[in-house]
Amino acid sequence: MADKITVGHVHMSGCTGCLVSLADNYGGLLTILDKYADLVYGLTLADVRHIPKMDVALVEGSVCIQDKISVQEIKETREKAAIVVAVGGCACYGNITRFTRGGQQNQPQHESYLPVGDLIKVDVYIPGCAPCPQLIRNVCVMAYLLLKGNKDQQELAKKYLTPLMQLADRGTEACGCDLMYDVVNQGLCMGCGSCAAACPVRAITHEYGKPNVNREMCIKCGACYAQCPRAFFNFDVIPEFEGIMDAIDAALK
């Protein structure tokens, strides 16, 4: 199809779990590649050596600043891609790579890992470890609508992506502490439990209606805060859940 968008998967220092999450859309991924997007770059999936020009770059992993090629490739990604999406906790916030201090074989000097947003401007965040397949899918569909859709579809895509763009603007640090600083301390928590459900390492429990974060267990993926309805709740999108979910389902049929 002529008006497909071009998408690339750029692999920085990550475990490939984000790519697996993308693949976990199974048939949905095939439909996306069939109808809406051409995969123009991807270490494991496309036989292309150098980062080409593309509409959307899905970046997985943080950047090791002692690895010249990584640094060069992430800068090149920014030059070549119209939209840069940080996929997963490492690209957004560093995630578990925040804990590395080098010393590992066979590159013990690789000790400093930065979230992508510390080196280039990132447009959209998909936090979480691993990021959820359905959120990656939704962002892919919305990116397509933004670039190739009609006016209404572009409007919807813009509204949908706005909070994920605001998350990218918000910064490159995340921790379970965000629930305290930006929700409980701000008088906004109502104890729904979203944060605990979102946490991939079960670091969050609820004690007497409020989240209790085990900070030793937190891997800094950013899922809890992004999932919290008192972190963001956009009344121009979420109340339309029925129509939007039907539209995404229909697009992937």
Partner: protein, 292 residues
């Protein structure tokens, strides 16, 4: 239809036709009855409900997969049960493909956000098959309820049979038949602060939402909102699960629901605006403007 009462396809006054459910119900037993029907018909494999916790009147979310388990959760507990915290666990540890969940308006907002923006809710979005919302003016922490019942109403929590907010009062019914009423003026200061920015009274984002307001004693007002909710509700009606009356024919009816919804939303909208200028040229966060 939209506005304070949200979009809905149908609004009726209803009660369960099952005597056993009504005996334990807060009002019309709508939530218990609808989940019972959905469980028996295989529309859901299990429901996240607020069951008994470690202390008297302290709810704890749990996953009911049988009618017996479901029955232990009936009735309103006026404090926080983090319902959504089990939503991924229900699909994982319990392996459920079709989940029911009951919750307050904010919890319905959390569920819908989780379906559209499933940041940490892998494979959950397609598995929510029945979300029942309950009307909510505000909620309390467990400690607040304890203080209200034990200090203000001078009753022991484990001697309480039922609590209720209605007719402008907080009612505490004892096991031995005694009744204490507290004016809402007393309860206000114990409200959960996070409730004061909530802009939803009748769970606008649920499949079906219900609450006592608007209907006579022993009955509940029911809004059927989504296509999915409508489908399940009509099947339940066809199966004879509920007695219903047109909402236009009951007192006090929709007028009171609209009045309370408007009061809550305009008061809290004002709070949201005041938060923006809370300090000196500095404000508090507004979640409706974004995550920053």
């Amino acid at each position: 239809m939209a506005g304070e009462l949200g979009k809905y396809k149908l609004c009726v006054s209803a009660r369960s036709s099952d005597k056993a459910i009504l005996r334990k119900a807060q009002d019309g037993g709508i939530v218990t009855q609808l989940f019972k029907f959905a469980l028996e018909e295989g529309i859901i494999d299990g429901a996240i409900v607020a069951g008994p916790g470690d202390e008297p009147w302290r709810p704890r979310p749990f996953i009911a997969t049988t009618v017996e388990e479901l029955m232990t959760a009936s009735g309103t507990k006026y404090n926080i049960s983090p319902q959504v915290s089990w939503i991924k666990e229900a699909t994982r540890s319990y392996g459920l493909d079709k989940i029911g969940i009951v919750g307050t308006p904010c919890q319905m907002q959390a569920v819908r956000k989780g379906q559209l923006y499933p940041v940490g809710l892998r494979d959950v979005p397609d598995k929510i098959k029945l979300a029942i919302g309950i009307f909510c003016m505000e909620n309390f922490s467990y400690q607040s309820v304890k203080q209200l019942v034990e200090d203000h109403a001078a009753m022991k929590l484990d001697a309480v049979k039922k609590m209720e907010i209605g007719k402008g009062k907080f009612w505490v019914y004892g096991q031995r038949g005694q009744v204490v009423q507290l004016p809402l003026k007393v309860t206000h200061k114990y409200e959960q602060p996070g409730c004061h920015v909530c802009l939803d009274y009748v769970a606008n984002l649920a499949d079906v939402s219900t609450g006592s307001v608007g209907s006579p004693d022993g009955w509940s007002t029911v809004f059927v909102r989504t296509k999915n909710g409508d489908d399940i509700w009509s099947k339940a009606i066809a199966a004879g699960c509920f007695e219903t009356k047109p909402i236009e024919q009951v007192k006090p009816g929709l007028e009171l629901v609209t009045k309370l919804a408007t009061e809550k939303i305009s008061k809290n909208q004002k709070t949201v605006e005041e938060r923006a200028k809370f300090g000196v040229n500095k404000g508090l966060r507004n979640p409706y403007l974004g995550p920053k």
